[in-house]
Subunit: 625 residues, 2 copies
């Protein structure tokens, strides 16, 4: 069990050192010539100059007749001019104007007087209704400078300017080598200990956005010799090589050794979190990068380093992307040792945009799927207080974020089901739902951080749901609870109930899994404990907190715990036994000013629809509220 | 010469009618099942639920040893706990935790004491350093609702959730039929009257952004029978058919007749400009759309109608895209008959974003290549005054627009050349240069609409350049002229000078082509006329105004005019003879507050570089200023 220590080089320094080295090592693009008809999205190597004018002849801009404008001079209603057939040439839009003509009269302005004679009652001026040579593009004009990305209309302009082929920068080919004994190809039935290899799919999608092609090599086991061969092969076939996982300093981490033997390791260990154990190396003038195995760390390194490296390849400084100012909804504590990359969800509620930090675990890829943006906390900063304005790098366009219904509160899969029905109906907004518990809903709606949120808060004195909490925490003119569903809460236990749990008080004898503080289910748990005269200390696992019903069910199914409170649908999903404990009123708390918001209205419309009731029945454990 | 009149249906009504009809005709998507590893960017048909948890077993989150946490309780510096080999299992990050363990101790926290015994000085709590089952994703959780576009990280999350295949919406195949007797495939040497077929390339690029595939059919001549066959073929092979050109009511416009014979024409003629003569039809439940031939009209119809139709296919309301508020820099007059789509360039100067209308010609595709956004003027609006705030639909991300050096003023190809050198150096900003003449530069810099602009303004009294104009129009603390180049102005005439023009005063006998009012070259022309005692009325073509030196040269080369004033490099490019008239001082006027702007500094650095001097020499006609 040897342990090598990594460096902790500041991100900026790591980047500077690495990119300088790559440039000096001759790393950069090559080019190829392609047809303009297939060049959309490509980046041109050199400036493109028109080789012909567009139009390249004097063209009629209308359907009508071409004339010498001088013969029309003086035409008016009182003194119409009659044109003999010899005076004009019939032209359609786009037709060339005869050399002795310099104007076109629109067909709408012609009066037929028989024998192909035409009368006009107003004159045309020279070059009227004619697209003169070069009106759009003049031969010799630069259509686009070097390094321009060809848009659809630019391809059109190049073709209009007589350019049929264009030299474009060859997309770099990035070789991806997944490594690790435990890594297996994607499967729906992995064996215990198998790690599903999905990072290469994530990389491929990201590389495509970076304008790079990718080639995924077979999974290489933790064997130095085999990995060495794989890296050499990729190095000979690709422009950039990524070694996925094996970048840390654990016993099987050969990447940095192999890069050292083939070339140079510039950086091993960057002062960022997640993403620290990256290896930045070079061999034969090509970058070899060791990417950490945790998906979130991997994505950060892809974004921060590999994206930049591809910009170095293209010879362009990388654009920063869109940012937005937002108000931080929760305090964040950060380490002074690292530059931290926090995934946040964003929402515009009322006038301001708020940013809510998502899970910080390096293994939680769903923190990226949910992320609307990234908040960077500098290395020398201990954290940021709630309510502070922060700058967020956007992961999706602001206009999408603006059209997001924000639901923060108690977890129930029904929110996802309503969202799905909305999606199927083609509604043009997103739903962003965060599991923050019922009390989380109260605070979020009160503080203008959410449009609405699910609540099921038992008043332990009256046995009533929700009302007393709302009255206590929110001025009544600010929010309203609307009808949701009734649902059964109960104890979830292993199939067959091997420990013979009969009622809530039996949990003193088993390993319990709890819900987080502030959740309605936790409040129910605490109420039941008190009612049964049980103190939390008597419960093994009281401090083991999860955020969703399914997470509790999953742990019971896996054997990490024996019992936990949750809703019937979660127990059913995991094939668990279910001991009903109570029926509760799950409602939606809505900020008053959003009651008429079209997003909220659309949500409620689905919530009360027959289609949705059918889904609830399928899930089980729900009643009409 | 028959003329059919088109309808003039308001855009909203046309859209509503058409999309309703398409939905009722059963137009919509089909789906296919693809591997998740290749599904990035695709749109899922149904909600995706995880089929396994991620992690699907309790996994070590660290390199270290797995233990039963209870044996570590009480460990401290004073009372270290020693672990026997039987107490622990060595685990790497990602390894499964043995069933009898519930925590991992990091390798960094272990003290080796020999004989495989390990000492620890602090306890671990249950599940510490363990990624419990479902930490990221719980089996049964909805990973994404129907209609979600799969991002790279979503593909990762699907694979992590055990989903290896996914039902996605099949991309629609759009058949494009280019039509017209005069239409030819892209070429650098078209014959007179040939129209280069580039619209299908533009469409293909746009369709790709709309998530549609395209198939371009051979060019079909203006023959009703052949076009009928082509449309039928495309209809049988594709989901949507576009007939390019032939949508108007001219003598060769068969599209609407053919659609009528196969199905229904819903709309022929929309109250928009450009784009009016579109045909919106349906046959066999598939849209057939007649697209106008002018590229700008075509792009508007593609954007407004075809993009929507593809959204109808996908069953999703179309997102509106990003907009920005901007101040209109110039008055726009608009027709009450049409909803107008004005291409604008945008620039952030100081605090505000200004929008400058680009060429409104339907044939000017470069108005789209230069456009940063589109301004819609409603049908019932006569126009918009300069200085008004308007809403612009962005064509490129705002962050790109913010990083744009805006140069408005006198035309000289040298600006493009400097831009190209900047691009080659990898500078991360765009240059947007507008030809508005030297006086345009004075006004634009004064009014904060441009960072800088080229000027060559002859003071006809003193013979000096630029200074007196700046003194007159701009407070001296607001702008400064910096050194540019010297250049030769002269009369451009046909090769061999067939009309024997010797000096400026000879232009009274020929067809002249002028520059626009406010341009330095126009001021020079007027000065020379006055000096020679010639009145503008004596000049044939005095009112024929062009905006660039190359445009003047192109018209002389094409025979539309015999002579015009311009710079040597333009004459050289077109193989024209050049009769020098004077040397002038071409300078750059810069807003004082932008003298230190990094974009302006980078521009000037290149302007004064040896590399640029070499380019000037190649172009010819320049001297050091």
């Amino acid at each position: 069990m040897k342990h090598k220590y990594l460096n902790n080089i500041p991100l900026d320094e790591a980047k500077r050192t690495y990119y300088e080295h790559l440039k000096n090592a001759g790393f950069g693009c090559s080019s190829e010539t392609v047809a303009v008809t297939g060049a959309c999205g490509r980046i041109i190597k050199n400036a493109s100059y028109a080789v012909i004018c567009s139009p390249h002849y004097n063209a009629s801009a209308m359907d009508g007749i071409a004339v010498d404008s001088r013969i029309t001079f003086g035409a008016s209603e009182k003194t119409p001019v009659t044109l003999e057939p010899a005076d004009y040439t019939v032209v359609d839009t786009g037709d060339p104007i005869p050399d002795d003509c310099d104007a076109v009269i629109m067909v709408e302005d012609l009066i037929e007087t028989g024998e192909n004679k035409l009368q006009i009652i107003s004159a045309v001026s020279p070059w009227q209704n004619v697209r003169q040579v070069g009106e759009d593009i003049c031969m010799g004009d630069m259509i686009a400078p070097s390094g321009t990305e060809l848009t659809a209309s630019l391809c059109g302009a190049l073709l209009a300017g007589g350019i049929t082929e264009v030299e474009v920068i060859k997309k770099p080919l990035v070789g991806i080598i997944p490594t690790g004994d435990e890594i297996v190809a994607p499967t729906s039935a992995p064996k215990k200990g198998d790690i599903i290899e999905f990072n290469s799919t994530v990389f491929t999608g990201m590389l495509d956005k970076f304008k790079a092609d990718s080639k995924i090599y077979p999974i290489t086991p933790d064997n130095k010799e085999l990995l060495n061969i794989a890296v050499k092969t990729a190095l000979s076939e690709c422009d950039i090589v990524l070694v996925s996982a094996g970048s840390s300093a654990g016993r099987d981490d050969y990447t940095s050794d192999i890069i050292s033997s083939l070339g140079t390791v510039l950086v091993h260990g960057i002062a960022i979190k997640p993403g620290k154990p990256a290896v930045l190396g070079e061999a034969k003038g090509k970058p070899i990068i060791g990417i950490p195995g945790y998906p979130v760390s991997a994505i950060v390194i892809m974004d921060e380093i590999v994206g930049d490296v591809i910009s170095v390849y293209y010879g362009k400084e990388r654009a920063n992307g869109e940012t937005v100012k937002a108000v931080l909804s929760k305090k964040i504590v950060s380490s002074l040792k690292y530059n931290e990359f926090i995934r946040v969800s964003l929402g515009r509620i009322g006038g301001k945009i708020s940013a809510s930090p998502l899970s910080r675990g390096a293994g939680v890829i769903t923190s990226f799927t949910k992320a609307d943006g990234i908040l960077q906390i500098p290395q020398n900063c201990e954290g940021i207080e709630a309510g502070k304005e922060v700058e967020i790098h956007l992961s999706r366009p602001l206009c999408e974020i603006e059209k997001t219904l924000i639901i923060t509160g108690s977890h129930d899969p029904l929110i996802d089901e309503v969202t799905d029905i909305l999606s199927k109906k083609g509604f043009p907004f997103r739903v962003c739902s965060t599991h923050a518990g019922s009390m989380g809903a109260i605070y979020a709606v009160r503080d203008g951080l959410a449009h609405m949120g699910g609540i099921h808060l038992l008043d332990t004195e009256t046995g009533e749901y929700n009302t007393s909490y709302i009255d206590k925490y929110i001025p009544s003119e600010n929010a309203t609870a609307v009808r949701g569903v009734g649902r059964v809460q109960g104890l979830m236990v292993k199939k067959g109930n091997p420990l013979g749990i009969k009622e809530f008080s039996d949990i003193t004898d088993v390993r319990y899994v709890n819900r987080q503080r502030g959740s309605g289910t936790r409040i129910l748990c605490d109420y039941l404990l008190e009612k049964n005269g049980i103190s939390p200390e008597e419960i093994n696992g009281y401090g083991n907190e999860e955020f969703t019903h399914t997470a509790v069910a999953a742990l019971i199914a896996a054997g990490n715990a024996d019992a936990g409170l949750g809703i019937y649908s979660a127990a059913k999903m995991y094939g668990l036994d279910f001991i009903p404990v109570c029926n509760e009123k799950y409602e939606f708390l809505i900020g008053k000013e959003y009651l008429e918001d079209p997003m909220v209205k659309a949500f409620l419309e689905v919530l009360y629809s027959e289609k949705f009731k059918a889904r609830l029945e399928e899930m089980g454990g729900y009643t009409e509220a």
